[in-house]
């Protein structure tokens, strides 16, 4: 029986005050990665090294890290789409009602990722789809990059000739992941507020994939574009119109440093309830919770559910003008940079609540613990989905994705985060 003596020893390779202040306030001790450490907040490059076959790193029971070894199954754009497609096909094969399709062949409950293809691999499939709707706009995103780098929009096939497999200019040789792109149907009818486009950033903490246990941070936010949205083709090149990443918006002329172009999710809810009504707003938020849980379920089978790991993801979601949410991407390393004072407070609290869940009582961890924190430590997190709890309620409840906590916090839509099978939303 191990005695938990001594303070937690931490390492990080991300020099951000919101992290370091949180470690220090717990009285933890900073060490280097060569020493005996208990807690390592790593960048994604480091996690790759730690778990790579060559290094043969073995973590001991009192060591915790903040990434799952193969998180990229969820956080790389092409793999995320691949896993979701695979998940849907599996459900269809087993005849699950979740995989039900409508008369146009679209999944009723699982159509939450815009149509996406990998380039150059699926180029021909893409062309077929493109020709069905030649006036549509598509967004090209490099698989391996973040912060809006390398993204551009196209509305003509000629603009992506480079990726054609038959093209003489294509490089079959360098199929390395750095060259790969995904191309997705661009959501050109986003919900606008004040005439401006925005996306949602939500934080989701996963403590284990099998059984799936995940938490949603209540204080997500909307990121607004500074320039008025226009679907006009002449503005396709204007990234300030289309991309909501703060890294991009920060350099626009209109970027404001006091509010940073952000709204809280509760503001959004107030606005939508006031202008659209309560039912459709509740439905929207239920759907958002649903698509997050489904995306995690999709990758759960392939995830290396290493017990030393937890992960806090940044989910990017866009809402269209029919109030349907779309999953755009999932970030393994959501930015911890603060653009405003409020931002800094939010991120500080985010890390604080995350650590309270991942490292119980702030003591030296034992990765064999059951990863079931008491309700009191959740802070601003609420349980999004707890597979163990859901299963203990009965097998068919699994489809309802019921949260493990029975106390219904009002406005906590996680309570009904799953769609019942024969549904109200039909």
């Amino acid at each position: 029986f191990r005695i938990m003596a001594g303070k937690v020893k931490w390492v990080t390779d991300i020099e951000k005050s919101v992290l370091i202040n949180n470690f220090e306030k717990r009285g933890w001790i900073q060490v280097t990665e060569n020493e005996d450490w208990n807690f390592y907040w790593m960048s994604v490059q480091t996690i790759r090294n730690v778990f790579s076959v060559e290094t043969g790193y073995r973590l001991s029971d009192d060591q915790i890290v903040n990434h799952f070894p193969n998180h990229y199954e969820l956080t790389r754009k092409d793999l995320m789409v691949k896993n979701i497609k695979r998940y849907r096909k599996e459900l269809e094969k087993e005849g699950s009602p979740l995989a039900e399709k409508d008369e146009n062949g679209k999944y009723i409950y699982l159509d939450f990722v815009p149509v996406t293809f990998m380039l150059p691999a699926d180029y021909n499939l893409f062309v077929e789809e493109f020709r069905k709707n030649p006036s549509s706009t598509w967004i090209m995103k490099p698989c391996g990059k973040a912060q809006g780098k390398g993204i551009f929009l196209i509305n003509k096939l000629s603009q992506i000739k480079k990726w054609s497999r038959d093209s003489k200019t294509s490089s079959f040789v360098s199929q390395s992941s750095k060259e790969a792109y995904v191309i997705s149907l661009y959501i050109n009818n986003p919900l606008l507020i004040g005439g401006k486009k925005f996306d949602l950033r939500l934080y989701v903490l996963v403590s284990t994939y099998r059984p799936l246990r995940c938490y949603m941070y209540k204080l997500g936010f909307c990121r607004f574009c500074t320039v008025k949205y226009t679907p006009s083709t002449s503005e396709l090149d204007n990234m300030f119109v289309h991309l909501t990443n703060v890294a991009i918006q920060k350099h626009g002329d209109d970027y404001n440093h006091i509010h940073g172009g952000k709204w809280t999710v509760s503001n959004l809810r107030l606005y939508l309830e006031s202008t659209r009504g309560k039912e459709v707003t509740n439905k929207l938020f239920d759907e958002i919770h649903w698509i997050i849980v489904q995306s995690l379920k999709a990758v759960a089978p392939v995830m290396n559910n290493d017990k030393h790991c937890f992960e806090c993801y940044g989910y990017d979601i866009i809402i269209d003008d029919k109030l349907k949410p779309w999953l755009i991407e999932v970030n393994a390393s959501p930015s911890l940079t603060s653009s405003t004072a409020n931002d800094r407070i939010l991120k500080y609290n985010l890390i604080n609540d995350t650590l309270n869940i991942a490292v119980p009582n702030g003591e030296i961890p034992d990765c064999k613990w059951n990863k079931s924190p008491p309700k009191e430590v959740l802070g601003n997190y609420e349980v999004l989905y707890d597979e163990e709890m859901a299963q203990s309620d009965g097998p068919d409840r699994d489809l309802r994705s019921r949260s493990g906590q029975s106390t219904a916090v009002k406005g906590n839509r996680a309570r009904d985060s799953g769609k019942p099978v024969l549904t109200t939303w039909k």
Partner: protein, 525 residues
């Protein structure tokens, strides 16, 4: 017509009839009556009764009721049919005088700004500029005009200074200041309510009565109050009854019903002619350039653009405020306001009424902006947003910017605040006064902006529900006092005005309804 002077009621009726005659409602009613003649249930023998019944069942009588109710709410009853018009504006001569001087000061400041910058108060825009403005009408927020030379015409503290110096020349206050005298900044003897009277007036906020903002919180099961309240609200909306709506919102509006309830209370229905009127104002903006426009731009940039909640609606604010400053229909409310707006004419069109523009007394748009912005959370159709704002202005907000003796006027609100504080928290009041932190210096800016920009939006909307419900701004003064009461412990420890300001700097986490309820109903007096 000569009326029996004792019969104020028939005078009121006559006035309302006069106002509604020739209104679009009048012509609609006539049209409906004419259409009904084709209906089988209308018989020649009982024509009058049958038409009346028809108007009742088809809901038109209700619309007329709402219009009458609206008139009663907005226009005060005349003090005496023979009283001169100035008395309807403001019965007290010294208040009228003070307002007049204040307006002169503002106009002087405006005129000197014009001269300094060689810009006329109003001029016609060249055609190319008109085209440009029309193109970017929906995104004026992206404009970055050079506004460095424009300064706000006055700051809230200038206005407070004027109010502080108000004196009633007929009031002899020679006695030495004692514990009975008023120790605040406002030194005019207006009558304000005390807590027992407020408790009666605001009885629906009592501890035994369900409230949104308290009884809809996460820990309370919705079956206790919320569900039933929503049901009643839906019924009120279905009935389209203004008076019932006004009573209902005293307990707060469910978020999904608020936009419609406020429109019902304010009697805004966004008819085609209303939309047309708005479009006309818009074309006035396109065609003519006012000096005031630059002041609006500057103020929006300074206030709303930097606000966590309102920055998203920057463009709507320009649209509403630019139109508002050209809306001469607002002038008719000045018959009951102590203010008289300076009028000007488009350059070259002196004396031609169709080229007249007026300057609302609050030329400092700071407070305006923050009273439009919360409405953007409810209405996103520009002409409706505009009308709601205009109606809120002529019913309530104008009183925050002009000097008058009205119980909802800013002078009375300041006095009410100070009196509540001095009476119920005397220790705190004396302490703050001693350290040079007169409480009104801190709370003035909250009240003059109806707390917009200080409270979280959902809390602000709950507060404004009660302004509409009680048709009074007194709740602003009560809330201001309640905030001081809430932070009393910390305030007792400060030793300077700056420290007191710091304690009260952030109201964004406050829940207004519990504060009000505790202050009014649960404080031992």
């Amino acid at each position: 017509a000569m009326l029996d002077p004792d019969n104020g009621l028939s005078f009121t009726i006559a006035r309302i009839v006069q106002r509604l005659k020739g209104s679009s409602l009048h012509s609609q009613l006539e049209r409906q009556a004419r259409i009904s003649l084709h209906k089988p249930e209308i018989k020649l023998e009982s024509l009058k009764e049958d038409i009346k019944d028809f108007l009742k069942t088809s809901g038109w009588e209700k619309k007329l009721q709402n219009a009458v109710y609206s008139e009663l709410n907005v226009f005060p009853s005349p003090c005496h049919p023979a009283a001169p018009p100035e008395h309807m504006k403001e019965p007290l001569a010294y208040m009228r005088k003070a307002q007049g001087s204040w307006e002169k000061r503002i106009l002087k400041s405006l005129n000197s700004m014009c001269t300094e910058l060689s810009i006329p108060l109003a001029q016609k825009r060249p055609v190319s500029e008109q085209k440009e403005l029309l193109n970017k009408w929906n995104e004026m927020g992206t404009d970055e005009p050079d506004l460095s030379l424009f300064r706000p015409v006055y700051a809230p503290k200038d206005f407070l200074e004027v109010l502080t110096n108000l004196r009633n020349p007929n009031y002899e206050n020679g006695e030495q200041p004692s514990f009975r005298s008023h120790l605040g900044l406002i030194q005019v003897p207006l009558k304000v309510k005390d807590i027992p009277e407020l408790k009666e007036d605001f009885s629906e906020l009592g501890l035994n009565i369900g409230q949104l903002g308290i009884d809809d919180s996460a820990q309370v099961p919705p079956e206790f109050f919320e569900n039933e309240h929503v049901r009643v609200g839906q019924k009120v909306l279905a009935e389209q009854d203004s008076a019932a709506a006004q009573q209902y919102v005293r307990q707060g509006c469910p978020t999904a019903l608020r936009a419609d309830l406020w429109a019902l209370i304010l009697n805004i229905s966004n008819q085609p002619e209303d939309i047309l009127y708005y479009e006309q104002l818009k074309s006035n903006v396109i065609q003519h350039d006012l000096l005031v426009d630059s002041l609006i731009f500057k103020d929006v940039k300074l206030t709303a653009s930097n606000d966590d909640y309102y920055f998203v609606f920057e463009d709507y604010l320009y649209q509403v405020l630019l139109c508002f400053s050209r809306d001469t229909s607002v002038l008719e409310h000045f018959t009951y306001s102590s203010a008289t707006p300076p009028k000007s004419y488009i350059r070259g069109k002196l004396g031609m009424e169709e080229y007249a523009v007026f300057y609302p007394p609050n030329v400092n748009y700071n407070s305006f902006i923050l009273s439009v912005a919360p409405l953007c959370f409810l209405y996103h159709e520009p002409s409706k947003l505009y009308q709601i704002f205009r109606e809120m202005y002529v019913r309530f907000f104008f009183r925050l910017h002009s000097i008058s003796s009205h119980p909802s006027g800013i002078v009375s609100l300041c006095l009410l605040f100070e009196t509540l504080l001095q009476t119920h928290l005397p220790q705190l009041f004396y302490h703050l006064r001693e350290i040079g932190a007169q409480p009104l210096r801190i709370s003035f800016k909250w009240m003059v902006r109806a707390f917009s920009g200080y409270l979280a939006t959902d809390q602000l909307l709950l507060l404004w529900d009660r302004i509409l419900g009680y048709n009074s701004l007194e709740i602003l003064a009560v809330l201001a006092a309640a905030v001081f009461a809430f932070r009393a412990v910390n305030l007792m420890e400060v030793t300077s005005l700056a420290a007191a300001e710091a304690v009260l700097a952030d109201l964004s986490t406050l829940k207004v309804m519990p504060l009000l309820q505790i202050f009014l109903f649960a404080t031992v007096t």
